[in-house]
Symmetry: D3
Subunit: 190 residues, 6 copies
């Protein structure tokens, strides 16, 4: 029951050098290796593409804050019932937002979470992209601009929701198990 | 109404060399530049990650045929009402499968399309990953293996459905317009 | 797999004279006999009632154009995943509208099709009748009148959506197969 | 609030002779004119087609009993929230089945109604045709045959569900009001 | 098929005195014992809690009328397909509202029932609480106040919808059968 | 934003003696007063009925364990997006089950949680009662008995799901805010 993935998980020694280096770097920073790195390494080319995409959107400077980017991940992953993404990115959100309650609030019902009006508008749009993107209209973009969002921010909101549409489905396909460490990270009050 | 994308589309001359080279190569092969390349080039890093992911799954040798991979794209993109993906990948499917009717059949209702039993099982699983991946179970994988699918093929089915969960949402976010050429490609009987 | 219907299809020679005459007339005009005529002739009284209803709404002069009437058929049939109706009426729409791309656009997502504002309002209402007619309100009719629709046009929009609610279910019940000819009709640019 | 329809209702004297004759005959038999006749007469050709279709399926001898045919109408009309059809055909069902409770039971939840196993199978299939006809499969028909249904009965079940898919949408479009008489007809125990 | 509940129904003689007294009182008033009392008495503590809750909300004086409270029960129970609650409370509504048609109208589609504007607003909110309470917002409450509802009335609307969310599920769990008497009560015109 | 409820919250001194005593007892045991007690005390009779119902089902000895009862609360409250119930009962579940990860797993997707086969069957049934109780059948109960469930346990599963159908709707109506204490309770490994 406690295996990391439904698919084979390669040994670190068997991985291509660039992937092993990334995993070692993550371990050195976090103190453990999040299971997503080990499980996705089953397919090195897909690993490289996924994390390149991830870094381009989640580690990007400017525009949305890093905490806001994680809010999008948690809100949409909760709607997709993605065990790994809600638990792991909930932890990252707690740390980045320095609000220990926010991740759980968003995971249950972002409509009742402690959000600023801008964050609420952001998550409304992210959820629309996640659940019924074919209804996204020019009027939606005009409304977001009316709330002060730039076109680059609008793309980022939609693109993060889209990337985790992929990520949630892959994690559910793998039955990817979150590391126990994530459940308690960042829970102490700031 | 006939613009390619809701977001800025860069001029070819302004693109990084690797992206321009890819676009030129596509043009030389297809005789035109599919709009997805121009529109996604608005974000070079995301362009690179997306097409690397795409090539790893759609151009892969062995296991699923290339036509089967396109069937997954068309079936799941139709459920997401993705204008670009259904029209463009419908054309590619017609060409790869050498069955001029199949793409339209799958786009309307894959349950009544001219599929082999193996293809039907493949699309049932792809649609489950696309629509309710959190219900994917060990029993689903056992059933697929019972139909002769290898674990590598099972991953590919799920991963293609997951990649186009992303792609459909991005195309809908951009209001990405398919090139007129796609509508008629591959319609002549084999 | 390539049979026309799940139910018996009568030979032309065995049909009542009026039904045979209708089928001969269709053949002379189109160059082939659309399968819907042969399959529905299994029940002559229902054949007569259905085509009388069909002609009253689809061949009617004045008000909505014939192309607009077919747009309603394609948009609602796509939501009901009706293989026969989307393929056959898509062909008729291409011919009547003299817009070779419009039928496929509407079949995938009418919200992103090349529609006039009047056509968009028309399809929004048709889809509401098709999917949640119990929510149709006096306010909906007032809004349509505000867009210049007459009460006769409003009835026609709703009645065509209602007739194809029947037709889609019958075609799906029969597993009615569209003739191969429909897939390519009207695809040449005007 | 108490008008019969959202659209014009013609005076009896203004109707074509055949339609007036039908309405007079109904009045003589029932003691009142059900509103559906008056409202649909707004469009004489559609009136003729609808009632020809209706009679072909609801008044047909052999196969399904007339009460069973009405059960299909009530079960599917309830799911479409069709005020007129549930109230009017509920009354007809009470009279035809000589079971005063059955119509209300089916209207609320056919799964808990006093049905024979054959009737339950019949309504399961009718509801599938009403709600997701694109999923009807050869296996469904084989199962119905296994419960002793003939192919003619299977067509009838599906066709009645399809006809009331039309009828429910038209009644909801018109806001067709059931006559007060229907609410109490057939409620006395047999 | 005609049993009262899927679970054991205690004999009157075996019940605790307070519960028996309540049942005797109901019998003396109504002339029969509604099955809900007998079936729920299988669990005396839950019986006491349920009817205490019920009386606090349905028998309350002031604010919403007793008929309005029953409208909420019928509208939300119909959406939950609760056989017992729609039939039994439909009868009570007929009696309390002195409108013999209203209960059936609300059960089929409250949107087309003979409601005052205030009652329509009341049922819109009750249905929102019943079906998607997590979307209830401060704006909803402000709108209700704008229609003249007090905060005590707003609580009552939501609380009755919430209580019958429980009651509908319990009745469906038990397969609780309504007494035959309910079907005809209150049908005579006032 | 940080208020406890949308409705007035009475001062402890203003409460009836029995309610105040209950609240004092809870405070003495837990070290704080969960907001549900304060907010529901706005309506003393409903407070008494709710907590009587709650205690009858959640504090009951025998049959389901107390941890299993809390699993039902968390699984169904998550589907109803009830902020208060998921956070507060998640804490109670962590403490009662002595499994610090289980509550978060069930809240995201009980299908991928660390459950025994018996617990999985229990939650499948609880979710069916919560979401589509009108489909509960005799076959469902037979299957539960086949997994060793007694009829008393089956009632309890359904009744807890039903009680929290009420509780979730009330908490969402009130916008009931969970106490900060709940988020971290029981997270230390056993």
């Amino acid at each position: 029951m406690n295996t990391v993935s439904r698919f084979p998980v390669p040994a670190l020694a068997d991985l291509p050098e660039d992937i092993r280096a990334r995993i070692v770097a993550v371990h050195d920073k976090a103190g453990f290796v999040p299971n997503v790195f080990l499980a996705w390494a089953h397919r090195p080319d897909e690993f490289r593409a996924f994390f390149a995409y991830h870094d381009a959107l989640l580690e990007k400077a400017g525009g949305l804050t890093k905490a806001e980017r994680e809010m999008i991940v948690v809100a949409t992953s909760a709607l997709n019932h993605c065990h790994y993404c809600v638990i792991a990115h909930g932890a990252i959100l707690r740390i980045r937002a320095k609000q220990p309650l926010l991740a759980d609030q968003i995971a249950v019902n972002y409509l009742s979470a402690d959000l600023t009006p801008r964050q609420r508008v952001m998550l409304d749009f992210a959820v629309k992209v996640a659940e019924r993107s074919h209804e996204v209209s020019d009027e939606d973009l005009a409304a977001l601009r009316g709330h002060g969002m730039t076109d680059d921010e609008i793309w980022d909101i939609g693109a993060i929701a889209a990337l985790f549409a992929l990520s949630n489905r892959m994690a559910n396909l793998m039955a990817l198990r979150p590391n126990d460490e994530f459940y308690t990270m960042g829970r102490a009050a700031k």
